[in-house]
């Protein structure tokens, strides 16, 4: 009896040239200047960051460019205890939704320089940028967010953005 073939390996590699588009390109170029650029929906006035160029609620181009703060509020978070590839921090660490001041939707990032048991909703945080020589048009230009010495945001101030 020949041995059964239990598996075969057929490696797949596909390469892509991604075109970010107008709005995302503005966001990425902003990161290379340590600026976080959002896009305003012309119908609702809401600021989306990052934006793919369309208002997700109204399907119209987000034409207005808005610089938002690199400070914000944690709206929700979790504590990650398993390692994953490509992360800038070691577990356990805090993964959080951060509502940047001036934005209407939170963005996801990691929080460091913070004992994980201290993470909480409403906590004020600020972006920590990578060293100048590593800055580029990528979200990796923000190394992580760190807590700042500001009183917690009032729940009412972010309850619409959960």
């Amino acid at each position: 009896m020949s041995k059964p073939v239990k598996s075969i390996s057929t490696p797949i590699r596909l390469d892509y040239t991604y075109a970010a588009g107008e709005a995302t390109a503005r966001f990425l170029r902003g990161l290379a200047r340590k600026k976080i650029i959002g896009q305003r929906c012309p119908v609702t006035g809401k600021v989306y960051v990052p934006s793919a160029g369309a208002s997700p609620t109204h399907g119209v181009p987000t034409t207005g460019e808005v610089e938002v703060s690199d400070k914000g509020t944690i709206t929700t978070f979790c504590i990650v205890r398993i390692p994953a590839a490509g992360l800038s921090v070691k577990p356990p660490f805090v993964a959080a939704s951060v509502l940047l001041d001036g934005a209407d939707i939170p963005m996801f990032h990691v929080v460091d320089e913070c004992p994980v048991e201290e993470a909480r909703m409403g906590m004020r945080v600020q972006a920590v940028w990578v060293p100048d020589q590593e800055i580029g048009p990528t979200l990796r230009s923000i190394k992580y967010f760190k807590p700042i010495d500001e009183p917690d945001a009032d729940f009412d101030s972010y309850k619409e953005h959960l």
Partner: protein, 351 residues
């Protein structure tokens, strides 16, 4: 059966590479145009269905981002197919047939410039025997073309004639990527890239999008002066293994054509999705289209081939000619899979 009609159509110009816009940004104006032309308010649209491919986009769940082009608020009834949007139109047609909805928006988009599309298409082959060999789409089509020529039914000159006519027709199509007057003998003097296919026998690599609005019965009549009624629509698939099929015929197209009622009355126009010149010849035979039928007045996929939208564009182009009065009855065709594996036939008519 409920009466369902195409009431509007919009498409982006097809370009070799749209660097300045992502898929959502290409789709947005197309979707808006189709909805505005339909006369149906966006909030009244019953169902939204799209076709696109994560493998082409290189992004998981890319269709979720594409939905931003519609603006899904208040929440919408939506579905997506990892296929040409012609099949999304079929799903929407079924949804309207069962009486759940009276209207539907269908859109499809593809940016083939972002990937090596010929390699990406090889990933739809079976993963054990053919996939690991990475046969690109052009090589597989060339195997089919060789078999077809060996039957003696067609010559290389017939292939080139398809190209000459397609490019000439495309001169009237502002969204076409390739158009112009070509010389038959000059084409035949060009080198082969995968014999017996030459570069012009293969559809171009395209970035583009298209959208169609469907409406049922009285709604269609109230918003559209001359709706393009779907007289019949059907799709059929053949075996996955290329070796068990007769590649020189398209039995799935013939069966879909029969089920769609193509032969109940003559058609004046046929929009066929043939990404390779020889495939148009196979399709014309399968659908029994005579010399009197004007094939691909738009130029067809050989002149603009945004994958995942090219089939829907055939339906849209045929419907536009009904709505404008240029034709009374037309047939549109879409294809999926290697070497015309799966085929959809849609018969449209004025009433």
């Amino acid at each position: 059966m409920r009466d369902v009609a195409v009431v509007s159509f919009a498409q982006s110009p097809s370009r070799r590479q749209v660097l300045e816009r992502n898929e959502v940004e290409i789709l947005m104006p197309v979707v808006r145009e189709a909805v505005e032309r339909s006369g149906i308010e966006k909030k009244e649209i019953g169902f939204i269905c799209s076709g696109s491919s994560d493998y082409v986009a290189g992004v998981p769940f890319s269709f979720v981002m594409s939905l931003d082009a519609v603006g899904a608020w208040p929440p919408v009834c939506e579905s997506h197919l990892e296929m040409d949007a012609a099949w999304a139109l079929y799903e929407a047609w079924v949804k309207i047939q069962v009486g759940e909805q009276d209207s539907a928006l269908i859109y499809g988009s593809g940016k083939s410039s972002m990937c090596n599309i010929s390699e990406v298409l090889s990933r739809q082959l079976d993963p054990y025997y053919m996939g690991p060999l990475w046969p690109d789409a052009m090589s597989l089509a060339a195997l089919q073309a060789r078999l077809l020529l060996e039957t003696g039914r067609f010559s290389e000159r017939d292939l080139a004639e398809v190209v000459v006519r397609s490019r000439r027709n495309a001169k009237q199509n502002p969204c076409a990527q390739l158009a112009g007057d070509l010389d038959l003998d000059e084409l035949l003097a060009e080198p082969m890239i995968a014999s017996p296919l030459r570069k012009h026998d293969c559809a171009p690599i395209s970035d583009g999008a298209a959208a169609v609005m469907l409406a049922a019965g009285d709604l269609a009549r109230s918003v559209c002066e001359r709706p393009a009624w779907i007289a019949g629509i059907d799709h059929r698939i053949e075996a996955h293994d290329l070796g068990v099929r007769d590649l020189t015929q398209s039995v799935s197209t013939a069966l879909a054509a029969e089920k769609a009622g193509l032969w109940r009355a003559p058609v004046e126009i046929a929009e066929l999705c043939a990404p390779f010149s020889h495939q148009e010849l196979i399709l014309r035979e399968a659908m029994r289209l005579g010399e009197e039928v004007k094939v691909n007045p738009s130029g067809g996929a050989l002149c603009a081939n945004p994958v995942m939208a090219a089939g829907l564009i055939r339906i849209g182009e045929a419907a536009e000619r009904i709505r404008s009065g240029a034709a009374g009855r037309a047939v549109a065709h879409a294809t999926s899979g290697p070497c015309l594996q799966q085929n959809l036939v849609c018969v449209l008519e004025a009433r």
